[in-house]
C-alpha cells in the first residue's frame, strides 16, 4: 500500500490524452492490419485468377503460346489466334468466370445471413430446384436453350419462396430455413430420379450432363445474358453489404442500431437466390462452389467480415480451375463436366473444414 500512497497523483487531463492517443493508434493499427491482409489475399487470388485465365486460353486442340494469348487480350494477335481465343475458348472461359463469381457471392450471402455454414444454395435445395425444373422441362417439355435456362431459374426461385414461407414465423427462423431446404433438396432429387427413369437413355444422358454442371455449351449470347444479369445483381449486393455486416451482430443489435432485420434478410436472400439461379440456369448446378468459396475466403481474410470480393474470386478460381482440370488434365476422351471436378474437391474440403475448425468456447 505504501507504494501506492506515495505515488504522485496522475494528472487527469494527461491521462485522458494518453488514453485517447492509445485508443487512436490502436484503431489505426488494427485498421491497417485488416486492410493489408484483405488486399494481400485479394491480390493473390486475382493473380491466380489471371494465371488461370491465360492458361485456359493457351491450352486446347490448337495450343497457343503465352505471347499469342497476351497479344489477343491486349487487342492484337493474328487472325487464327484471335479466332481461337474469342470464338472457341472465350465463351466457355467467361462463362466459367461468371458462374464462379455468382456462386461464390451467393454462397457468401446465404451463409452469413443465415449464420450457418450449411446454408448454401447447393445444399438447401435452390440448385436442386433449378435442376428438377430444368430436367423436367428438357425431358417432359422438350425445351432447350434459353427456355431451359428460364425453367431452371423459375424452379430455383420457387424453392426459395417456398422455403421462405415455410420458415416464416413472424420472422425468419434460420435453422428452419436450412433444414427444410435440405428436405427440399432430397424431394427435388427424387423428382429428378423419377423423370430420368421415365425417359429414354439418350435424352437422359443429355439431362445428366446438364445436371452435373457444365460450361462446355457456352456461347456468347448465353454469356452476355448471364453477364448482364450479374451487372444488375452485383451492384445491389454491394449496397446491402453494410447493413448485412450490422445484421451479423444478431437481430436485436441490428434493430437497436436502426436496421430492419427482416427487410435486410429478405433482400439479401433474394439476391443470393437470384445469383445462384442465374448461375445454375446458365451452367447447371456446379456442385459445391457456393458452399466452399465463402468459408475459404473468410478463413483467408480472417477478420469476421463478409469477404464478398475474396469469395467471388475463390468461386472464380474454383470453377475455372476445375474446368481446366476437367478439360486438359483428365484424359480427353472422358469429357468430364466441370461439376464432377468441383464435387470431387468439395467432399474432401468439407472433411478438412470439420477437422481443422478451431475449437470454439461454448
Amino acid at each position: 500500500m505504501t507504494a501506492v500512497d506515495t505515488a504522485p497523483p496522475t494528472a487527469a487531463p494527461d491521462d485522458a490524452a494518453a488514453r485517447l492517443a492509445a485508443a487512436r493508434s490502436g484503431l489505426r493499427v488494427d485498421r491497417r492490419r485488416r486492410r493489408v491482409r484483405t488486399s494481400v489475399v485479394t491480390s493473390v487470388l486475382a493473380v491466380v485468377a489471371v494465371a488461370l485465365v491465360v492458361t485456359a486460353l493457351m491450352l486446347g486442340d490448337f495450343p497457343l503460346a503465352f505471347r499469342q494469348v497476351v497479344d489477343v487480350l491486349t487487342g492484337g494477335g493474328d487472325d487464327i489466334a484471335r479466332l481461337v481465343v474469342v470464338e472457341f475458348r472465350g465463351p466457355r472461359l467467361v462463362l466459367a468466370v461468371l458462374v464462379g463469381v455468382a456462386l461464390g457471392v451467393s454462397g457468401a450471402l446465404f451463409q452469413s445471413v443465415l449464420a450457418n455454414p450449411l446454408a448454401s444454395p447447393d445444399i438447401i435445395g435452390v440448385s436442386q430446384g433449378a435442376s428438377a425444373a430444368a430436367v423436367a422441362a428438357l425431358l417432359l417439355g422438350g425445351l432447350t436453350g434459353l427456355a431451359l435456362s428460364a425453367s431452371a431459374l423459375a424452379g430455383g426461385l420457387a424453392v426459395g419462396l417456398f422455403l421462405y414461407a415455410v420458415a416464416w414465423r413472424g420472422g425468419l427462423a434460420g435453422h428452419r430455413f436450412v433444414l427444410s431446404g435440405i428436405g427440399v433438396a432430397y424431394a427435388c432429387a427424387s423428382v429428378i430420379g423419377y423423370v430420368l427413369t421415365r425417359s429414354d437413355v439418350q435424352e437422359a444422358q443429355a439431362a445428366l450432363l446438364w445436371m452435373t454442371g457444365s460450361v462446355a455449351q457456352a456461347d456468347w449470347p448465353l454469356v452476355r445474358l448471364l453477364g448482364s444479369t450479374l451487372a444488375v445483381l452485383l451492384p445491389l449486393v454491394a449496397l446491402v453489404a453494410r447493413p448485412l455486416q450490422v445484421l451479423l451482430l444478431g437481430d436485436q443489435q441490428a434493430r437497436a442500431l436502426g436496421l430492419r432485420p427482416e427487410l435486410v434478410r429478405a433482400v439479401v436472400l433474394g439476391l443470393g437466390i437470384a445469383l445462384a439461379c442465374a448461375a445454375t440456369a446458365a451452367a447447371g448446378p456446379v456442385a459445391f462452389v457456393a458452399f466452399t468459396a465463402a468459408p475459404v475466403a473468410r478463413r483467408l481474410v480472417g477478420d469476421g467480415g463478409l469477404a464478398l470480393v475474396p469469395s467471388a474470386l475463390v468461386g472464380l478460381v474454383l470453377v475455372l480451375g476445375a474446368d481446366v482440370v476437367a478439360q486438359h488434365v483428365l484424359p480427353a476422351d472422358m469429357g468430364v463436366p466441370v461439376g464432377v471436378v468441383t464435387g470431387a474437391i468439395g467432399g474432401p474440403y468439407l472433411i478438412w473444414l470439420m477437422a481443422t475448425l478451431r475449437a470454439r468456447p461454448a
Binding site: 500500500m1 507504494a3 501506492v4 496522475t10 487527469a12 487531463p13 491521462d15 485522458a16 488514453r19 485517447l20 492509445a22 485508443a23 487512436r24 490502436g26 484503431l27 493499427v29 488494427d30 485498421r31 492490419r33 485488416r34 449496397l239 453494410r242 447493413p243 455486416q245 450490422v246 451479423l248 451482430l249 444478431g250 437481430d251 436485436q252 443489435q253 434493430r255 437497436a256 442500431l257 436502426g258 436496421l259 430492419r260 473468410r298 480472417g302 477478420d303 469476421g304 467480415g305 470454439r360 468456447p361
Partner: protein
Amino acid sequence: MTLTTDKTADATTEHASAETIHALAAGLEGERHEPVRLAAHGLHLAYDKRTVVHGVDLEVPPGAVTVIVGANGCGKSTLLRGLGRILKPAGGHVELDGRDIARQRPRDVARLLGLLPQQPLAPEGITVADLVARGRHPHQGAFRRHGAGDAEAVAQALALTDTHELAGRRVEELSGGQRQRVWVAMMLAQDPRIMLLDEPTTYLDIAHQVDVLDLLTELNRTRGTTVVMVLHELALAARYADHLVVMHEGRLFRAGPPAEVLDADCVREAFGLEARVVPDPVTGSPLVVPVGRHQRRA
C-alpha cells in the same frame, strides 16, 4: 479505513480516475443533450402467445438514471426490449419524444435510443475496433462511409471504457469482463441520448462494476444522457438510481426514489426473500442485507 482498490493487485488494468473520465466525457463530440422523453403506455409484451409483460405504464424520467430490478424471469429484459422497439407490443405502445416509436424511422430512433442486450453476439473473428465501430451505423448512410468523426467517437468510447489497449484483439478471445466493457464501448460509440442497458455489469469484477456505473453516471451528469438499466446488485441499484423500478411477475411493482421504494416488504414481495434494509454506510441509500436460512446470528 476507506475501501480503496489496491492498484498493485491488478497490474494489467489501470482504472481511469474520476478526473480522467470527466475530462474524456467532457471532450465527447457534441454538447449537452436536450433530454428525450421515453414512456410506455399500457404496454403488453408477449412471446408467441405467452404474455410476459402485463400492461406496464412507465414514464422514464428524462435526463435521469433509472434502474430496473426484479427476480429472474420477471420480465426485465423483455420490458427493455419493448422500450427499445426490439419487440413489438402485443398491446399498448411506447412513445419516444412524444410519438409512437413504432411509427418512426428505425435509423432516427437509433440515433436517440441505444440498447445493449443481456447476451449480445459478436461475429466470429471480429476485432474490438471493428465491433465498436459498428455502433456508428445509425450515423452513417449507405454511401457515407466511416469518417474521421466516427473514428474519433470510437477512440473516445474505447478510452472511456478502459478498452483502449484492446483495439486489435479478437472479441472472442477476451475475458467476460473485457468483452462486457467492449459492448458498453459500442453503445458509447453509438452515442444515443437514451441508453438502455441490460445488466451492463455482469461478468465485471467489483471495481469495474463501479467503473461502468460511474461512467454512465458521468455521461448522465455531463451530457444529460438518460440511462435505463437492469441491475441485479440491489446495493448498487439503490446507489446509482435516481429512479428505481421494481418489477414482479411482469408488472411494475413499485417505482420511485430508491429510499422510498426499497424496504423489507418490497424485497419480500418481489424477490421472496427475508432481508433487513439498513442505510448504506457510504451513501446512506438503502442497503439490502439478506437474512438467509442458515446464517442468522445466534
